[in-house]
Every structure is written in structure tokens, then in C-alpha cells.
């Protein structure tokens, strides 16, 4: 049969990295083809070649059987190839609609813009995505999850025949994911070919028709999704057996309280939130997108001001107004948005890992101990399996998942008494995920108090000793961890809307 897109013998080298070694890939119309592989395996690179962003160093590409060499995103668009990038690349100062239709603004004579048509067209695209968003909202005011949805809308607006989705769900919650999958079904029915990249293994079973696996830049195999058990896929990705050791939940009810939060409030985002975490405990935070979990964490960390509330560390009230004060008080926070808040991407891996710990690496005169920094950086590169040619590589040049590992390394190194991880495993492959879980459990065992905010329910349930659930800025309940708590229990609390309780006005 004829392929929509076919790639053969694709080669790509970066300085110090052989990113793709004679890789092949094919896409049929109306199929979802999952592209799998560990962090840094070369998935994004292959797709950037397909969509005209990188030039290939070798190999061939065919669209509808005709050889093509898309040399720009525009050329790829003309071939009907659209891409949703792993890293957000929106214009933050513009509105959602202005982003979605950039370059294709409805115009009137003399280059005048028809803003009404622009907003109307965007509203239609949003409606088809079941996305409740005013096309006139400014992008920078939106959380990354919602920004991701704007990116998706933008890619769809081109009506592509081939749509590449590079980790579209990394920032999304179950409800949005379900919505996205409906869209994917519709596109499939229209004959659109979809390349789907994700580290959420469960999704593969749900939507993929075929699976291609890459390892270390090399092509491993292409399989039928329906006939292949997940464990096989994982084994092919990682190159070995991954054993999931069953979690043990220690009893920490008698441990001293490490962090106590009382009546934290900030506008409508955070309303009267109180909870505590004990030493040695992992407290999970679940909730739908926009539930206010990130906001609670940022307030505790002093990154945002609060209207009211008290924070106690080791039973002592602390006055935290800046992240610096928080770190001094022994609190660390790993942000959900690595690109904007987690990394200085133009700096090296080594410098980023050391960033929160400079006093460890300086003498009294302020002179840096590069040798010690290198030692530590190399240690974490090994431990977390960060794929990089050296610790002096600029973080910007790492794959998305490997960048995330760098942020994790930074905070693991900081060794705070209270550590708040916001979406720590976003974009991280299965193998590395279990390594990170083990590290978190290790930290807890050493007596640290750990808060994990995650939109992946399985992750919250796998890790948490207790699970706090938020909805619309309120803490709606704290559930015990372990097998006794089901997804349904959590979802019930996560959707316990105030309006629903009161039974009054209908929300969107």
C-alpha cells in the first residue's frame, strides 16, 4: 500500500552526538503511529527532519511516494505536514487567536486586520477541541497546560494531512487527554496520518495502531500496537527488562511534622488551604488542571505573595517572602515549567545542576570549585541517565526529557528538608521514571518531607503515602495512600465544585 510519508536511512549528527543512525519510518493515512524511545533516543529530531526544521545529513524522504526535501517549516506545511512541538513556542505577548492564526490573519484591504473574523475562526477551532477559552486571552497569562492546548489548536488550524504530536499530553490532565483523543479519532476518520510521541505508556494501548521504537538513535522495530504487550515495547526501548518494585508505604504518622500550612489564601486561586507533611512522608497532590496546586506550592516557596495564611517549618512559624528565604528555611521547589522557571537553558548542564547550590562550590573568596562541580554533575548524569555528550553541553541542546532530569538533579543535590516537586516526571521515559521514584523514596526514607504534585493519577497513587486533592483553589480532602484509594475516590474530590455543592449557578 502507499504510505503518506516514508523515511529511509535517515542520518543526523550534532557536534558530539550521532542523533539518528539510518532510521526508517513510515506513516499510513488514517493511522496513529506511535514513536517510542528513551529520552534522547532521537524521536524529536526525526520529527523535526520530517517537518522541515532540521536538514537531514543522509537518507531519503517520500510524501505520496514522491521524493521530497522540505527545507523549511513552510515547505513542510505545503506538503501537508504539521507539527505540535514538544517545547512550547508561542508568542507570549499575543492573544490566543493571534497565535493560532499567525501568518494567516484574515485581512481586509491595505493589510488591515479583521480581528473579529480572527477571533471567530479561532473560537471555532477551540470549540472543535472542546476548549473553553476566550480567543482574546493573552497567552502569557495561561498555564502551560492551556498553552499546550493553544499549540494543538494552532497545528489543527492548518488542516494537515500529517500531524506530528511530540508529547502533546505531557502537560495535560486526564479530562483534556480524553478530549484530545476524541479529536485524534476524528482526524483519523478523515484520513489524517498521526505521529504520536509520548512517555505515558497507557496511551499507546489506547490510541496507537502501530509502534516504531528507537534506541540510541537507531531504528529497532515497527510493531502492531494491538498485538504487542507493553512490556515488550518497554523492553525494546530500554534494551533490558524493567522491573517495577512494588511500593512500600512506611508508617509516618508518628514522625514529627516538617511543614505545616495553615489557612493559605490568595485571591480565587488558593482558598483557605491547610495541611501538613511529616518527615519521611511523601504527600501527593492531585487535582484537575487549574485546581491551584502549583499556586499553593509557589506561595509556600515565596515565589508569589499570599493574602493570608501561615507557614511553619519544624513547628516554627517562618516568614517566607522570597524563594531565597524559602531555601534558607529548608524548602525546595521544582517548577512545572522547566524552560521558563527551571533552567538557564543557555548555560551548561554542570552550571545548571550547581545553580541552587553555589555555596557548596565556592570558597570564602567566592572562587568556584569547577572540579567539584564537574564531579557532582558527572555523578548525577550517570545516576539519572542524562544523555549528553558532556557535562559542558548547553542544556538547550538536550532532549526535553533530559532537560527535565537536569532540573531534578539540581534539587536532589540541594538536599532540602522539605522538597516540593511539581510535575517532576513530565516528559521522562519509563525507565528513568522508576529510577526517579526510587530516588524520591530514598529521600523520604532519609527523613525528608516530600510533596509531589502530579497530573498523572497512576504516579500520584504509586508514590504518595497520603494524597491531598484540590479543586478550584480549595483542598477538598486528604486520602490515605496505597491500594485502598481508587482513582474514583480521587476524582470525586477533584470535581467537588463549590457551585455543585451549593447547587447554584452552572459553570461552563
Amino acid at each position: 500500500m502507499s504510505y503518506l510519508v516514508e523515511m529511509k536511512g535517515i542520518e543526523k549528527r550534532f557536534p558530539g552526538v550521532h542523533a539518528l543512525k539510518s532510521v526508517q519510518f513510515s506513516l499510513k493515512p488514517g493511522e496513529v503511529h506511535a514513536l517510542m524511545g528513551e529520552n534522547g533516543a532521537g524521536k524529536s529530531t526525526l520529527m523535526k527532519i520530517m517537518s522541515g526544521i532540521y536538514a537531514r545529513d543522509g537518507g531519503e524522504m517520500f510524501v505520496d511516494g514522491k521524493p521530497v526535501t522540505p527545507d523549511s517549516p513552510r515547505a513542510a506545511q505545503d506538503l501537508g505536514i504539521g507539527i505540535i512541538h514538544q517545547e512550547l513556542s508561542l508568542m507570549n505577548d499575543l492573544t490566543a487567536a493571534q497565535n493560532v492564526l499567525i501568518g494567516r490573519e484574515p485581512r481586509r484591504s491595505l493589510g488591515r486586520l479583521d480581528e473579529t473574523a480572527l477571533n471567530k475562526k479561532t473560537a471555532e477551532i477551540f470549540a472543535s477541541l472542546q476548549l473553553a477559552m476566550d480567543p482574546r486571552t493573552q497567552v502569557s497569562t495561561q498555564t502551560i497546560a492551556r498553552q499546550q492546548l493553544i499549540e494543538i489548536a494552532k497545528a489543527l488550524s492548518y488542516n494537515p494531512r500529517v500531524l506530528i504530536m511530540d508529547e502533546p499530553t505531557a502537560a495535560l490532565n486526564d479530562a483534556e487527554i480524553a478530549e484530545l483523543f476524541k479529536v485524534i479519532e476524528r482526524l483519523k476518520a478523515d484520513g489524517v496520518g498521526i505521529v504520536y510521541i509520548s512517555h505515558r505508556m497507557d496511551e499507546i494501548k489506547r490510541i496507537a495502531d502501530r509502534v516504531t521504537i528507537l534506541r540510541d538513535g537507531a531504528y529497532i522495530d515497527t510493531l502492531d500496537a494491538a498485538d504487542t504487550p507493553l512490556s515488550t515495547i518497554i523492553q525494546l526501548m530500554v534494551g533490558r527488562e524493567v522491573t517495577q518494585n512494588a511500593p512500600v508505604f512506611p508508617d509516618t504518622s508518628q514522625s514529627p511534622v516538617a511543614l505545616e500550612v495553615r489557612n493559605l489564601s490568595r485571591g480565587k486561586d488558593v482558598r483557605d488551604v491547610s495541611f501538613d507533611v511529616r518527615k519521611g512522608e511523601i504527600l501527593g497532590f492531585a487535582g484537575l488542571m487549574g485546581a491551584g496546586r502549583t499556586e499553593v506550592a509557589r506561595i509556600i516557596f515565596g515565589a508569589d505573595p499570599r493574602d493570608a495564611g501561615e507557614i511553619l517549618v519544624d513547628g516554627q512559624p517562618v516568614n517566607i517572602r522570597t524563594p531565597h528565604a524559602a531555601v534558607e528555611a529548608g524548602i525546595g521547589y521544582l517548577s512545572e515549567d522547566r524552560k521558563h522557571f527551571g533552567l538557564a537553558v543557555d548555560m551548561t548542564v554542570r552550571a545548571n545542576i550547581a545553580m541552587a547550590n553555589m555555596d557548596k562550590f565556592t570558597n570564602r573568596a567566592g572562587v568556584l570549585d569547577e572540579a567539584a562541580m564537574k564531579r557532582i554533575a558527572v555523578k548525577y548524569i550517570e545516576r539519572l541517565g542524562i544523555r549528553t555528550p558532556s557535562d559542558m553541553q548547553d542544556v538547550r541542546l538536550l532532549s526535553g526529557g533530559n532537560q527535565q532530569k537536569v532540573v531534578i538533579a539540581k534539587w536532589l543535590l540541594r538536599d532540602c528538608d522539605v522538597l516540593i516537586f511539581d510535575e517532576p516526571t513530565r516528559g521522562i521515559d519509563v525507565g528513568a521514571k522508576s529510577e526517579i521514584y526510587a530516588l524520591l523514596e530514598d529521600l523520604a526514607a532519609q527523613g525528608r518531607a516530600i510533596i509531589v504534585i502530579s497530573s498523572e493519577l497512576p504516579e500520584v497513587m504509586r508514590l504518595s503515602h497520603r494524597i491531598a486533592v484540590m479543586c478550584e483553589g480549595r483542598l477538598t480532602g486528604i486520602l490515605p495512600g496505597g491500594a485502598d484509594t481508587t482513582q474514583e475516590d480521587i476524582m470525586e474530590l477533584a470535581t467537588q465544585r463549590e457551585s455543585a455543592l451549593v447547587g447554584a449557578e452552572e459553570t461552563q
Binding site: S89, M91, N92, D93, R112
Partner: protein, 335 residues
């Protein structure tokens, strides 16, 4: 950044000028505080003739600020506006005085020269990937030298083109309403500002100004020909600088070839005081206009108060910092 709080119907004009930048209007506050302060301090300040003097003093810097706002919103900078203005004035002098062409051709020459020079800067930036600071610094020097070369280092007077000085000094409004002798130069400033604000907020060119300043790579990846648009934006800014050249030449009834250095800093200062960010993506023409007015009021007021010149400088510096600080605070509060 808080967006829409008010959604009441707005007048067409205010919508044109202020789209997405309601808070910018608040920058008026510093201006009004200054006006009130000086009025109290000196009875001579708040006279019609002095108000008109302030507006006229704003006209050239205001037009330059409008031009440079466009470039700054794209995330660039333009250091050449001062000497480019002079260059346009000199070319007009050559066309009108040396070649004896009719007035209209002189006007066209100024604007065309600006557009051409601007598109050259734009080409350096867009095609040759030279940082805007360097590209426009180079242009600043090149145009400065060329002005001197072309004019023979002598001012070119417009005595043979009687209507020329009316461009800035005449008063159409004053002819209609004798009590309001606002010079044409001021009228032109406001017209240029309104038109540029319209272009910025209502046309594709304006949209790409903001888009380029916000995330150039993303605009490029969306298939927009960013180079071409950037050149167009620099050319438009240049054309506006050409108008400033006309204004200053008409006001001085001569093209002064040595003038211009230092004007770029003042224009950029007006833009930044007006709340436009030097990192691009955000800004408004109204803000730049207010910024230019703040500077003109400050300078004039301190002079009318007869403050010793060395102290004028000190006070100007301090008030600029304070005005921007007040603006910061005001914008922060609603968050």
C-alpha cells in the same frame, strides 16, 4: 499583567490608540502631577504660549519616539534616528534649495530617503543578522558623515521655498480658531502618532511587530517571511524619521548637518518612560507620546522656574526615575 477589567464600549479613537494597553493611559498620571506641580511653582508656566512651546518642543522628539517605538516593539533598537533625521533634512535641502524643485517634492524626498535608509538598516538586521544595536550604530555614523559631505558641512537654508517653514511653524488651527494657535508641527506629531498607532494595532505589519518582539523563532516557524516584514518595519520607522526631518528643517528653516547626535537617546528614553519594554513584544504609541511629553514638560518647567542648569540635570534624572517607579507601582497593584 492584568488584561481586561473594563469591557464597556470604547470610542473608536481610544480603541485604536489603546488596544490592549489600558494601563498605559495611567502613565498620564506622572505627566499631570508634573503639570500641576510646575503650575503651582510658577505662574508663568501655565500660559497658552508656554503650553504651545512645550508641545512644539515635543514635536520632533515625539515623532522620533513614535518611529523608534516600532523598532523597539520588534525587540530591536534604532540608534540612527537622530542622524537619519538630519540626513533626510539635508536631502530635502538639496532637492528644494540646490535643485530648486517644488515644495511637495521636498516632502516626498524626505520621507522616501528615510524609508530607504530604514530599509537599509532593516536589511542589515534581517538579512545579514547584524545585531540591531550595531547595524543602527553604523548607520548613525554613516548618515552623520554623509549629511556633512552632501551639505558641504554648511547649513542649507530654505529661504527660496517660502512655504517650507509653514510646515512646522504655520498654524492651520490658529487660522480657524485664533485663540488656539497650535503650530502645524504639533498637529503633524499627533497625526503621525494616530496613524502609526492604527498601523500598529490594526494591520498585519503592526501584528508582526509584536509577534517578532515576542518570539521571532516561532513566527518564522509559522511560515511568515520574517526578514521581509522586519525590513518593512524598519522602512516604516525610517519614513516617520523622514517626517521628523521635515519638521526640524522647517522649524529651523534650514537643514543643520551637524545636528542629530544624542537625539536617539532622548527618543528611546521617551519610549521606555512610556512603558514600552526594550526586550520587545509590548508597547504603545500613546505611551511613547506621553513619555516625550513628560520629558518636554520637565525640561521646560525647570527652565521656567530658572533652576540653575546643573541642578536641572540632576532633577531631570531623579524625576525620570521616580516617574517610571510610580508607573511600575501603579501597574503592579492591581495584580
Amino acid at each position: 499583567m492584568t488584561s481586561t477589567t473594563v469591557d464597556a464600549p470604547k470610542s473608536a479613537l481610544s480603541r485604536i490608540i489603546a488596544t490592549g494597553t489600558h494601563q498605559r493611559v495611567l502613565a498620564f498620571a506622572s505627566l499631570i502631577v508634573l503639570l500641576i506641580g510646575f503650575s503651582i511653582a510658577s505662574p508663568n508656566f501655565m500660559q497658552m504660549s508656554n503650553m504651545i512651546a512645550i508641545l512644539q518642543a515635543t514635536s520632533v522628539n515625539g515623532v522620533l519616539a513614535v518611529a523608534v517605538t516600532l523598532v523597539i516593539i520588534t525587540g530591536g533598537i534604532d540608534l540612527s534616528v537622530g542622524t537619519m533625521m538630519t540626513f533626510c533634512a539635508v536631502i530635502t535641502g538639496v532637492v528644494l534649495t540646490y535643485a530648486g524643485m517644488p515644495l511637495l517634492l521636498g516632502v516626498v524626498a524626505a520621507i522616501a530617503t528615510g524609508a530607504l535608509a530604514g530599509s537599509l538598516s532593516g536589511t542589515f538586521v534581517a538579512k545579514m543578522k547584524i545585531p540591531p544595536f550595531i547595524a543602527t550604530l553604523g548607520m548613525m555614523l554613516i548618515l552623520k558623515g554623509l549629511s556633512l559631505v552632501i551639505s558641504g558641512t554648511r547649513p542649507i537654508y530654505f529661504n527660496d521655498t517660502p512655504g517650507f517653514s509653514e510646515i512646522s511653524r504655520g498654524s492651520l488651527i490658529g487660522n480657524l480658531i485664533p485663540a488656539l494657535p497650535i503650530p502645524n508641527g504639533v498637529l503633524i506629531l499627533f497625526m503621525v502618532a494616530a496613524l502609526t498607532a492604527y498601523i500598529l494595532n490594526r494591520t498585519v505589519l503592526g501584528r508582526y511587530c509584536f509577534a517578532l518582539g515576542s518570539n521571532e523563532e516561532s513566527v518564522r516557524l509559522s511560515g511568515v517571511n520574517t526578514d521581509r516584514w522586519k525590513i518593512a518595519i524598519y522602512a516604516l520607522a525610517g519614513a516617520i524619521v523622514g517626517i521628523a526631518g521635515l519638521l526640524i528643517a522647517s522649524r529651523l528653516n534650514s537643514a543643520q548637518p551637524a545636528l542629530g547626535l544624542g537625539y536617539e537617546l532622548e527618543a528611546i528614553a521617551a519610549v521606555v518612560i512610556g512603558g514600552t519594554s526594550l526586550s520587545g513584544g509590548r508597547g504603545s504609541i500613546l505611551g511613547s507620546l506621553i513619555g516625550a511629553l513628560i520629558m518636554a514638560v520637565l525640561t521646560n518647567g525647570l527652565r521656567v522656574l530658572s533652576v540653575a542648569q546643573e541642578w536641572q540635570t540632576v532633577v531631570t534624572g531623579a524625576i525620570i526615575i521616580l516617574a517610571v517607579y510610580a508607573d511600575m507601582m501603579r501597574r503592579k497593584k492591581p495584580n
